[in-house]
Subunit: 327 residues, 2 copies
């Protein structure tokens, strides 16, 4: 539990063409019709997404890079190259993070803890994903045209960045809950939502217990990228723990695309999924007074193609940030 | 600068056969003659190294896993699977870190900041590398027998873990300096030391300025894994900045192997290099009163095979922990 002082001074989400065509498209600060962003590789394009989101968040906060004490950033590319090459030019002390698709909540939680505890004045939280760089690293080269089962999710092309400091008038990070690794033995790499749902259930339960609260106390409880199957499973797991998730519960992966028109199967995924939804839709509605009390829980599947090939299951993790609109 | 309260309550280093045969062999808590550790893959063996180091550090600190508030851990395998699968069973809130070979300093710095600021009571810092898992991921399958140029370094098989809390009687983390990404345009993946030396120079200079101190003020200044070429380059870079590194400067990669007898070319490298040297030799000598005032600077090369194949240079980063023996 934090003192409640860290606030989000500025935030930005940038996204690709498909995300721009989805229901949240109008909320993004920039939509790149050309998802190469003019770069020579998908990996460099993903780096450019982080650079764009960070620069815009800084501008909105009225902060220069030299005022930022620490950057918390990460992504799902091998050795986090989207963050390294996206953020190398700013000269800001950098603490690289790895939390798979939970990275937006992990970086925001660390930024909030650093500011809350006085370890820093201003921190930034940044992450990204890109459909094309993720596909070829985790599944098949795009050219192969591999078939996707209905349980599979679609990696979001986009990045989100948030600047955290003291003062400010928008949204404060009231509490954070850092999750631990859970492993229910699921090994289907086309069903990540099911692998991550148990982690979300553990973290949400710990948060409700720590704060003596219940799901109905919040305007919105939103998970990162469980998608259709994972979010149904989360409802069941929470029911068993005595917590009923009502109509105030949804998942970033369910709302970023129009699943009836956009061919994304079980919904969105990737570090960029929860990052872009947080840094556009959620924080936007909170600033507009439409949402006041939000639980944001991003989930990560901690696997690699190598661990799956070696027969390992898919451990999950979930980190939570409790966000409150400043009256 | 920290208040100086966080102390290292327990630490452990475990290593492979070659490291055990080196000059620091007697200081390791366990040497695995069979570097598979009885596991079915090199990746699983690396996970086992982390588990061994963490368990032994906990035992030496007299701490149970449930008393640890946060685990800071990471490694260089894709998607940090050594840490995920090595630490999944402890049920401790986990914040995955990515700093390439700077990970030991990064995780120790975060653990110290969390304890110092009151964000946590007890934290753990853990990292590892394994020669065989690193070779096949970054260079060639072992069976290929690729030739190594004289500038190349040898990835250490080993893991280090440190438990940080308040009280304790051994060594305190007095200051930390988090580095930023530096890029001098070096692109030779067989000369990582040269790519990382500029980052070490930036971080050391920032530390000396922040603390109004000079190299001679310390018993030992030790970098992570610059090796023979990188550490020579660091001396030159520091000289240009007005700081002369004397006989009190060395590098973990230079002392972990006997370069005259062990065929390791420019020295040791990998996250496990600085981790095993810190968690055996350095902390051991500090506890024994032989060293009192130590600057530990671990360096990381933030590249991936993909970024190098795409023509990118190798950005470096360096994080610093200033360690002081408790009188």
């Amino acid at each position: 539990m934090l003192s409640g002082r860290p606030t989000i001074l500025g935030y930005s989400a940038v996204a690709g063409k498909r995300e721009g065509e989805g229901p949240l498209g109008r909320g993004f600060d920039m939509i790149f019709e050309d998802t190469t962003l003019g770069e020579k590789s998908w990996e460099k394009a993903e780096s450019a997404l982080q650079r764009e989101a960070f620069t815009r968040a800084l501008n909105k906060a009225g902060i220069s890079p030299s005022q930022v004490n620490y950057l918390f950033a990460g992504d799902l590319l091998n050795q986090s190259i989207a963050s390294t090459f996206g953020l190398r030019e700013y000269g800001v002390p950098m603490l690289g993070q790895f939390g798979a698709c939970s990275t937006m909540a992990q970086t925001l939680a660390l930024a909030a803890i650093f500011v809350d505890s006085g370890a820093a004045d201003i921190c930034a939280a940044i992450t990204s994903s890109h459909f094309c760089s993720a596909e070829r690293q985790f599944r098949f080269p795009l050219e192969y045209g591999g078939q996707r089962p209905p349980t599979s999710q679609w990696t979001v092309t986009g990045a989100g960045a948030a600047i955290v400091g003291l003062g400010g008038s928008g949204v404060r990070v009231a509490d954070v809950t850092v999750g631990y690794i859970t492993d229910f033995g699921i090994s289907d790499t086309n069903n990540m939502g099911a692998a991550m749902a148990p982690a979300a259930a553990e973290t949400l339960t710990a948060f409700f217990k720590d704060t003596s609260s219940k799901p109905d106390d919040y305007d919105l409880i939103i998970t990162g990228d469980l998608g259709a199957i994972g979010s149904d499973l989360l409802r069941q797991l929470m029911e068993r723990k005595g917590y009923r998730l009502g109509a105030n519960y949804t998942d970033c992966g369910l709302i970023i695309y129009d699943r009836s028109k956009q061919d994304v199967h079980a919904g969105g995924s990737g570090c960029g999924c929860s990052a872009t939804v947080l840094c556009s839709y959620i924080l936007g509605k909170m600033e507009a007074g439409e949402l006041k009390n939000v639980v944001f829980v991003a989930t990560g599947a901690l696997m690699s193609p190598t661990s799956s090939q070696q027969g390992e299951s898919i451990p999950g993790i979930a980190h939570l940030c409790h966000l409150v609109a400043i009256e």
